[in-house]
Amino acid sequence: MSLIKVTDLSLAYDTGRAVTELNFEVNDGDYLCIVGENGSGKSTLIKGLLGLKKPQGGTIEFSDGLKQTEIGYLPQHSSIQKDFPASVWEVVISGTQNADIGYRPWYTQSQKATAQSWMEVLGIEDMAKKGYGELSGGQQQRVLLARALCATKRLLLLDEPVAGLDPLVTQDMYAILRTLNHEKGLSIVMISHDIQSAVQEASHILHLHNTMLFFGSTAHYVSCSVGRRYLGGEQQ
């Protein structure tokens, strides 16, 4: 089943340029990597998918019971204040605020249970009372991932989840995402600079360069001319 269907989408950058003619879809269980150089429109597309930026043209359709506000979003790590006084628990459970329809002044038992269970899945339940600022980069990323998971049942949207992490922690992160995709059945859309890992991990690739250069399965991508050139270029 298709979760997101993007048709003839065009979005304006903050600087006025635009990313145009996007056509792709994300199906249940897909693991889609969005690749492309800096300024190719990746972050703009993420904003569009999250509903933070209105399309100039075309449509983004959500189906199969997914709402736009039910996407689990993992922002770029650098966008969060490092010294913000917040405990791991406070950060993770704040992700449940969309899960309930309407406004609740206090967290319900089911919201607490959701937060607790995702913290256990990601192995951060022991850190609940620790300050977010005290954690290592990899741990902080797990905390934000747990928050994103609290916000969704179906789809994770990750903006450069491994940027700034050291190689071992990066491998851990990919392993976690693999588990979530394979065992928990979550669909994943990820922006990545790491093209080698992208073709290893993802089932589909979307290659942007202000417009769509390629969309299709990873197997097809590595054999097509766009993919071969990009992968070859990376290896030099």
Binding site: L50, G51, L52, K67, Q68, T69, E70, I71, Y73, P75, S79, I80, Q81, D83, F84, P85, A86, S87, E90, V91, S94, G95, Q97, N98, Y103, R104, P105, W106, Y107, K129, K130, G131, G133, E134, R147, A148, A151
Partner: protein
Amino acid sequence: MIEFINETLRIFSLAFMQRALIVGCLVSLCASLLGVNMVLKRYSMIGDGLSHVGFGALAVATALRLSPLWVSIPVVVVVAFFLLRLSENSKIKGDAAIALISASSLAIGSVILALSTGMNTDVCNYLFGSIVSMTDADVYLSVALSVIVLLLYVLFYNRIFAVTFDETFAKATGVKANLYNMLLAVLTAVTVVLGMRMMGALMISSLIIFPSLSAMRICKRFGSVVIVSAVLSLGSFLVGMIVSSIAATPTGASVVIVNLIAFLVFWAIGKIKGGNAR
């Protein structure tokens, strides 16, 4: 010791002192809660700018013989909206705009006061605060507004946390972040106006900033920062008030100095613990 307690009790039995005490405690509480968010969202300067606008509005109200609170609250709320918009669009421009608006309001207020009543102690009272300026009607309005501020803060606590911690994520999950930013700005504007006649236009922003900064020296959780800064703010206000009435020092300035001492103590504790201190 007994003499000291008797003296304190005598001072607090005076009607104008009781009015000041009630309003001061409530405003201290509101300011400390909102301050946590203002500091974390890097909006500290907005509080300062608003107090200067409040001064201008108070001056106009005095000149026109209107009720000070009824005039200044709407004016300051409108300016708060405006400043928030500026800060959202571009940080540097917002900064400059606040400085511009602060100085202009201060200048307009001073000129209007000079033309209408003459440069007298009124100006000094507005700038540095005075506890005798409040009427019963002001007290009722202050109490009502403070209770609303506190209630809204408690009811929307979780949402306010989410929006303060990560606005983009909050927006993406359908939380109306702009609405909550507006709410924070309005609540701050109301608090600034309520507190500024006692604390003084030049010092009210310290009531917003100091307690939360002090609390952040030793607390790592958002919830504890909020609680510690509320307790600290209330304590500092009471100590400052007692000191000022016994030593005959200006109330606003005394409260700020107590807050400063508290900050230094908390900063030292944070350094020694080596925890969250920076």
